[in-house]
């Protein structure tokens, strides 16, 4: 296999090239003004390794795939066109009011709880650019009030006069009957034909999101419209760059659904967070190949701790209403949780409880931890890690950031030692203990809320601080296996290299499988089967349009179901795609009951209150050949080898141990696969530090994979 996959992040463009049996990881700085330059530089580095020209590589690869956080950055920086918006009259304030709770979306708990300080984010559409259109449909799509076309034309002209560069249309119940939205698009084209100057793109909400919910659908359409031109131009430039360098196949763009598609089959909204989602994709792939079973993927950086779940059996965890930046949207996105914990998390004295608190305040990278010597005065997790002896002050981040232990010491002393009446080392241990416990609690809640037990999981630990804290976090849980994955420095790009072409189509509806009033079981099979067939056909057409052979197209069916009038819609993966008899319906009901019971507890089901389907969702996909990892499983104990002599020793302190340890230090590059090192130990690489706590053993594996194995059966702390 020959393939190029790229993750364009805010700082670095990561490149992963598979060339036959060779895997090349390279990086370059992201060039925001022209993404192609960063891409060419990163790929150029790979060319050097392979001793090939750029054109040679691009001509021979089966695909080039991009994941990017570009859209997220554009949202945060508030760079986008002036949007004009048409909504159903009477709903003009739906978007500005953001379901009331919009003030807190994307904020930490304190931001959500502090009402006097609550402030909604600056809008993507100004309130005066939202106009009500005289029309109305009911929940079944039946006409309540016809579309007043003159009203549309008048409002449209006003919006354009006020500078609208793009029109977003979000009408009530348009997902069940899109006729009015479609007619408005025609009117816009009539008024501003595409061949004339002043033509205006139109985004129709029902085309961006297929689920009910006029607010979330409207924000989805707005975000999509807001990013449309930025993403289109940036990605088109990338595609053009590929063409110039002899790449003739379609460029593939990673979606936050966990799949990918060609550029011309991609909404801007679908690209948001595709970088981190690719990391989850890589975890899934790794889990399958290395037979890891259930995996919780954790990425700990300087400011955040991302958690994703990959479980056996192919059940995907999606957020159907994820928050993007500060906006609640409606798009099926691979589930990711971000906690405010990282190396930059600030520690402070908790006056009330007479202990240490850590985060959510972060020193970020500027000024950064006190030991960065850039003016930061508050102690952080990284300061504690340095004081405890884990970090090499001279060679942190490959030597790019010299660390100043005196600053770290002073910060910890000033903020904590007097109040707590402890030494600097004891205070640093408390910081470390606190942040690890915070992450463990977040991780535990995340798994438990979905009905899983952490002890059944392998933890994947990546990101700059992941391997440094993973033992401490796992110690708080019952997890006894941690894998710092192979190719971890370009892990998201690796994930992009393993995606399949995928399109998800869904339909909101009111479908009662069991009516508890009449005690009747659903029997309108034609309706159900018709909708499934329609959704499959849409997915099929998407893939056919991209040249996928019909026989390679496969589908998965999921139903969002609920008991009675619940809010939650538990997703059931349904193996049968057609209903033709009561036993088929009961099979669906049983599947739902099983999934629900796993999540909320057996016996918590309430079928007596009725059972409904709220959404039918079909994923249509084409499987691609995947990158084959080498065998990265840890060798059995008898086959493991002793490490070479350590490159040095450092005095380290560990939570739960009063005495200090003279801890041996190795460079990761010096450890061959199969080498075993008992903790306490430190293994350093250019991008991270692998900290092996007492009671844990590190086992080096192929392709840079690194295992942490707990020596004894864990004691459950949760």
């Amino acid at each position: 296999m020959k393939r190029v996959s790229v993750d364009i992040g805010g700082t670095f463009t990561d490149c992963f090239v598979v060339w036959g049996g060779r895997y090349i990881e390279t990086k370059a700085l992201t060039t925001h003004h022209n993404l192609a330059m960063g891409f060419n530089e990163a790929l150029g580095k790979a060319c050097k390794v392979l001793d090939l020209e750029l054109e040679d590589i691009l001509q021979q690869v089966d695909s080039v795939r991009y994941a990017t956080t570009l859209g997220t950055n554009a949202l945060i920086e508030h760079k986008g066109p002036k949007i004009g918006m048409l909504v159903t009259a009477g709903y003009e304030a739906t978007v500005p009011l953001s379901r009331a709770r919009g003030y807190g979306e994307g904020l930490d708990d304190m931001g959500k709880q502090d009402l006097p300080n609550a402030q909604r984010p600056d809008p993507l559409v100004e309130a005066h650019m939202i106009r009500g259109i005289r029309e109305r449909l009911d929940f079944e799509g039946k006409l309540v009030m016809g579309l007043d076309e003159e009203d549309v034309r008048r409002q449209l002209r006003e919006l354009v006069d006020r500078g609208a560069q793009i029109i977003v249309v979000a009408l009530v119940n348009s997902v069940v009957n899109p006729a009015h939205e479609q007619r408005i698009e025609e009117i816009v084209l009539e008024e501003y034909p595409s061949h004339l100057l002043g033509a205006i793109p139109v985004i129709l909400s029902h085309q961006v999101a297929g689920r009910k919910g006029e607010y979330v659908r409207a924000t989805s359409a707005i975000v999509d419209g807001y990013l449309h031109s930025t993403m289109y131009h940036a990605l088109s430039a990338l595609e053009q760059n590929l063409r110039v360098h002899n790449y003739e196949k379609p460029m593939l763009v990673i979606h936050n659904s966990g799949g990918m598609a060609q550029l011309n089959s991609t909404d801007a909204l679908q690209t948001i967070h595709s970088g981190p989602v690719s990391g989850i994709g890589a975890s899934e792939h790794l889990s399958l190949q290395a037979e890891l079973g259930n995996v919780v993927a954790t990425d700990m950086g300087g400011t955040s701790y991302d958690i994703g779940i990959v479980v056996e059996g192919g059940i995907k965890h999606y957020d159907f209403n994820p928050v993007i930046d500060r906006w609640l949207v409606s798009v099926p996105m691979v589930h990711l949780v971000t906690l405010g914990a990282g190396g930059g998390s600030v520690a402070a004295y908790d006056r009330m409880y007479k202990t240490v608190k850590c985060g959510p305040e972060s020193a970020g990278s500027d000024p950064g931890p006190a030991c960065y010597d850039r003016g930061g005065m508050k102690p952080t997790v990284t300061d504690a890690d340095l004081l405890l002896g884990y970090l090499d002050a001279e060679n942190y981040a490959g030597g790019s950031i010299p660390l100043n232990p005196r600053r770290a010491k002073a910060a910890v002393e000033d903020a904590l030692c007097d109040d707590l009446d402890v030494s600097v080392i004891e205070a640093a241990k408390l910081i470390r203990e606190k942040v690890d416990a915070n992450m463990a609690n977040g991780l535990f809640t995340e798994l438990r809320a979905r009905g899983y037990d952490p002890k059944d999981f392998t933890m994947l630990a990546y990101g700059g601080n992941g391997p440094l804290h993973c033992c401490g976090i796992a110690q708080n849980l019952a997890i006894d296996k941690i894998l710092a994955p192979p190719l971890s420095s370009v892990f998201s790009a690796v994930g992009a290299g393993n995606m399949h072409q995928l399109h998800i189509h869904e339909k909101s509806l009111y479908m009662v499988l069991y009516d508890s009033n009449t005690r009747r079981i659903f029997s309108d099979y034609e309706r159900f089967n018709g909708i499934v067939a329609e959704l499959k056909e849409r997915g099929r057409q998407d893939l056919l349009r991209q040249g996928v052979p019909a026989e390679q197209i496969q589908h998965n069916l999921e139903l969002d179901m609920r008991y009675g009038n619940q809010l939650v819609q538990t997703t059931a993966v349904i193996p049968i795609h057609e209903l033709n008899s009561p036993s088929d319906v009961l099979q669906v009901i049983n599947q739902f009951s099983t999934d629900y019971g796993k999540r909320f507890g057996e016996g918590s089901q309430a079928p007596e209150a009725g059972i409904r389907i709220n959404t039918i969702r079909v994923s249509s996909y084409r499987q691609h050949e995947t990158v084959q990892f080498q065998n990265i499983k840890p060798l059995p104990k008898p086959e493991r080898s002793a490490p070479p002599a350590p490159s040095g020793h450092r005095t380290c302190h560990f939570v739960g141990h009063d005495e200090a340890f003279e801890t041996p230090v190795w460079a990761r590059k010096d450890l061959d696969p199969g080498v075993e090192i008992a903790g306490p130990a430190i293994v350093a690489s250019e991008v991270t530090t692998f900290l092996v706590n007492p009671g844990w053993t590190l086992v080096a594996a192929k392709q840079g994979a690194t295992w942490f194995l707990r020596n004894e059966a864990p004691v459950t702390k949760h």
Binding site: G104, A118, F139, D148, E214, S516
Partner: protein, 756 residues
């Protein structure tokens, strides 16, 4: 002390003992226990707690355990929010928590309705006191207790709790409980908060705490009884299960802690957590200036009739003691539902501290524990057992606002602030409560989530946010109409459109409310009710020169099917109350306005009911408002040009909205001079303004002037002393109307026997 029972001299200690034993042996039933219900402070340390703290005193260990337990509570909360069938569950009208063995709420879920923090412990204390050693009941592993009667705890009877004891090696170590605002409870009107209730007997289910779960199974006979007693048997079933399983999930987390750290660590953590928070509150209070602030809020109806009902508040801080003195507030209404139990008021004050003053404090009972609250007995803020309280929100919300208004003055003067100084938020549940048979044939009764869209008060440096949050919860949701319409047979024809000119002006204006216009479409058995005050007198006050909000009446259009109009004559339909009521575009229809206490009203297809959510209060002098902000408000439809010019003295071109800054400055300078010209010396003002008694033409309730000991009861001649309860009956509005008509008949010379 005089004996209230006999009126004779107080008996000796020995006699008292005998009397006590006799009374205990002859208890008719175990009603609400004043000893429990009047106390919101922590129980004294038990011997078990002393022992546990001695064994596990380390603050860092306790912090670790607390964080884990907190995560467990949050997990339980999320389960309830996700699985719950009640709309209340979906917008976070929920609390899940861990209680000490004595019944104090130690650790609670971080989100949702925080007023529960101060009130959900009472029923557990009732169980501890009465059922633990009661051979016919008992408390055992696997048991679960249910409760909803607010006289035994919680806020109102729509809230149902599931309470589970947690045992470790046979020893009761703590309790877990989950409480949800369920809505429907079989009361005289659907939705669980009947404003028509004239006695507790009209208020539906009245569950004192009783055992409904054994061996972690809900008892089917009791479940059936409860389902049979309410309009939504499905809801009753679903949410009892939900609460039970949420508790079981928290229980798992506790058991894991017991396994790894032991019972003493758990008990010590729960106790010290509360004590630490309580101490911190005392410390923070001690930093406020020593002073008193007086304020009041007026309720303008009982939801049955217009009247003027005073909520009187003096907030005093001395040393580390903070005291809310609500004496002088209206007497309770013997047959009106707007009274509250004292716990409800305290709960809402707890909300004030946890959301608006010290949002960093952890959720639990301890934050409110050291704060004193004084009221008159049998007053609207501390009603008696026999008074209905299903609409207690009217009193606890206005009580809250009185507190919020007073506290702002302290915060302004306090150097250490934990959030912004702010004007009061809007405080009324301006929403539609609904019920009947849906288009799917289901019997439903509940309310629109729009109550969560209360406008925020302005702060010391910026305008209030529109429709931000209900005063009783954070991150509450006003929902999605497309989703709601699937379940209910009416449409919100106007769902979210800012209500023009319904503003609270100020240097920084309050966050504004929005219009809701509903009409039944697909059911012949459907109706609405509204339960709010503020149609005639604003229920909040402005701050430091800012204004209160406007007033928000209910408007109705009957004798029309607007769905016919929208389909066949769409040009006649208007999307604002202002246009419909002023232009009256539907011929032959009847256009009326009302106070916001509409009893359950069966609606016909296509008849319009229209209300507006309210605005938070303004902050600072209007004349200091940036003219650019004024014009922006006009542009965004918040205010008409006429009102803007009149209030703010801003001069602009009405067509282009271009501001003439110079002319504005002059207009404002003129207005300042005019203000001075209108003013009179204080003594003169007092002489002209003050009256010795409330006016006879207004039904006025509460103290008048500085004399807080005399409470007026609807007329200048009818009073009671604050500490001497008297019945306070209101005449049925229909009887009032009949009397009026009879008087007219009599005046017209119609003989009495013809009235029949």
């Amino acid at each position: 002390m005089k004996d209230m029972t006999t009126g004779g001299p107080a008996p000796s200690a020995e006699d008292m003992k005998l009397i006590k034993k006799f009374l205990e042996d002859t208890t008719l039933f175990l009603g609400p226990d004043p000893e429990i219900m009047q106390n919101h402070d922590l129980m004294p340390r038990s011997a078990d707690e002393e022992h546990a703290i001695a064994n596990v005193p380390d603050t860092h260990t306790i912090a670790k355990i607390r964080d884990r337990l907190q995560a467990g509570c949050d997990e339980g909360y999320e389960m309830v929010e996700q699985m719950g069938a009640a709309p209340g569950a979906k917008w976070g009208d929920v609390i899940t928590g861990i209680y000490s063995a004595s019944g104090d709420l130690a650790i609670a879920s971080a989100g949702g309705v925080l007023l529960f923090s101060s009130v959900v412990h009472h029923p557990i204390k009732f169980i501890v006191k009465n059922w633990m050693n009661e051979p016919t009941v008992g408390v055992r592993d696997g048991d679960g207790f249910i409760h909803n009667d607010s006289r035994y705890g919680n806020v109102h009877n729509t809230d149902q709790s599931m309470i589970l004891p947690i045992f470790h090696e046979g020893r009761l170590v703590c309790w877990v409980a989950s409480t949800v605002h369920e809505g429907e409870n079989g009361a005289i009107e659907p939705g669980g908060m009947p404003s028509m209730a004239e006695s507790p007997s009209d208020e539906g289910l009245k569950m004192s705490p009783f055992k409904v779960v054994e061996n972690y199974q809900i008892k089917r006979d009791l479940l059936t009884f409860l389902q049979n007693s309410v309009r939504e048997p499905k809801l009753q079933l679903e949410d009892m299960k939900v609460k039970l399983f949420a508790c079981l999930r928290i229980k798992q987390r506790i058991e894991e802690t017991l396994k790894t750290d032991g019972a003493d660590a758990l008990i010590s953590t729960l106790r010290l957590t509360m004590e630490d928070v309580r101490a911190e509150v005392k410390r923070r209070v001690s930093e406020w200036p020593d002073m008193s602030v007086r304020t009041y809020i007026i309720q303008d109806s009982t939801l049955r009739e217009n009247c003027v009902v005073k909520v009187n508040c003096t907030l005093t801080k001395k040393g580390d003691q903070l005291t809310f003195d609500f004496r002088g507030s209206s007497p309770e209404f013997t047959n009106r539902a707007t009274n509250t139990i004292l716990g409800g008021l305290k709960g809402m004050l707890s909300q004030l501290f946890l959301c608006y003053i010290w949002p960093d404090l952890p959720r639990g009972q301890a934050a409110m524990a050291p704060i004193e609250v004084i009221t008159d007995p049998h007053s609207i803020l501390n009603c008696s057992y026999d008074a209905p309280n299903s609409q207690s929100l009217m009193s606890i919300f206005t009580g809250f606002t009185a507190g919020q208004h007073a506290v702002a003055k302290f915060l302004y003067s306090c150097p250490e602030k934990f959030t912004k100084v702010h004007a009061p938020a809007f405080n009324m549940i301006n929403t539609f409560i609904w019920g009947g048979v849906s288009q799917h044939g289901e019997t439903l009764g509940n309310l629109c989530a729009d109550l969560n869209g209360m406008g925020a008060g302005a702060t010391s440096n910026r305008d209030g946010e529109h429709a931000l949050a209900p005063i009783f919860a954070t991150m509450a949701d006003i929902g999605e109409q497309e989703v709601n319409e699937e379940d209910v047979p009416f449409l919100q024809l106007v769902s979210k459109k800012m209500t023009r000119d319904a503003i609270a002006p100020g240097k920084y204006r309050g966050g504004q409310g929005y219009t809701m216009m509903v009409a039944t479409k697909d059911s012949e058995q459907w109706g609405f009710m509204t339960t709010a005050q503020g149609a005639k007198i604003p229920p909040i006050q402005g701050l430091f020169g800012g204004y209160a909000c406007g007033t928000y009446p209910l408007s109705k259009v009957q004798g029309v099917d607007v769905y016919d109009v929208m389909l066949n004559e769409p040009e006649k339909f208007r999307h604002s109350i202002e246009e419909i009521m002023n232009e009256q575009p539907f011929e032959g229809a009847r256009y009326t306005t009302h106070h916001m206490g509409m009893g359950f009203d069966i609606s016909k297809r296509g008849e319009l009911y229209m209300i507006s959510q309210g605005a938070g209060a303004g902050y600072g002098d209007l004349l200091e408002r940036d003219p650019v902000g004024v014009v922006k408000d006009i542009e965004e439809g918040l205010m008409s040009a006429e009102v803007a010019a009149r209030l703010y003295k801003v001069v602009f071109d009405p067509a282009t909205l271009a501001i003439d800054f110079e002319a504005t400055e002059k207009a404002r300078a003129d207005e300042r001079k005019a203000r001075i010209a209108r003013s009179v010396p204080y003594a003169e003002f007092v002489k002209g303004w003050n009256q010795p008694k409330p006016p006879a033409h207004l039904p006025y309730f509460g103290c008048w002037g500085d004399d807080v000991e005399t409470l007026y009861m609807g007329s200048p001649d009818k009073t009671r002393r604050g500490d001497e309860p008297k019945p306070n009956y209101m005449v049925h509005p229909k009887d009032v109307r009949i009397a009026e008509l009879e008087a007219r008949l009599a005046a017209a010379g119609v003989p009495g026997d013809e009235k029949q």
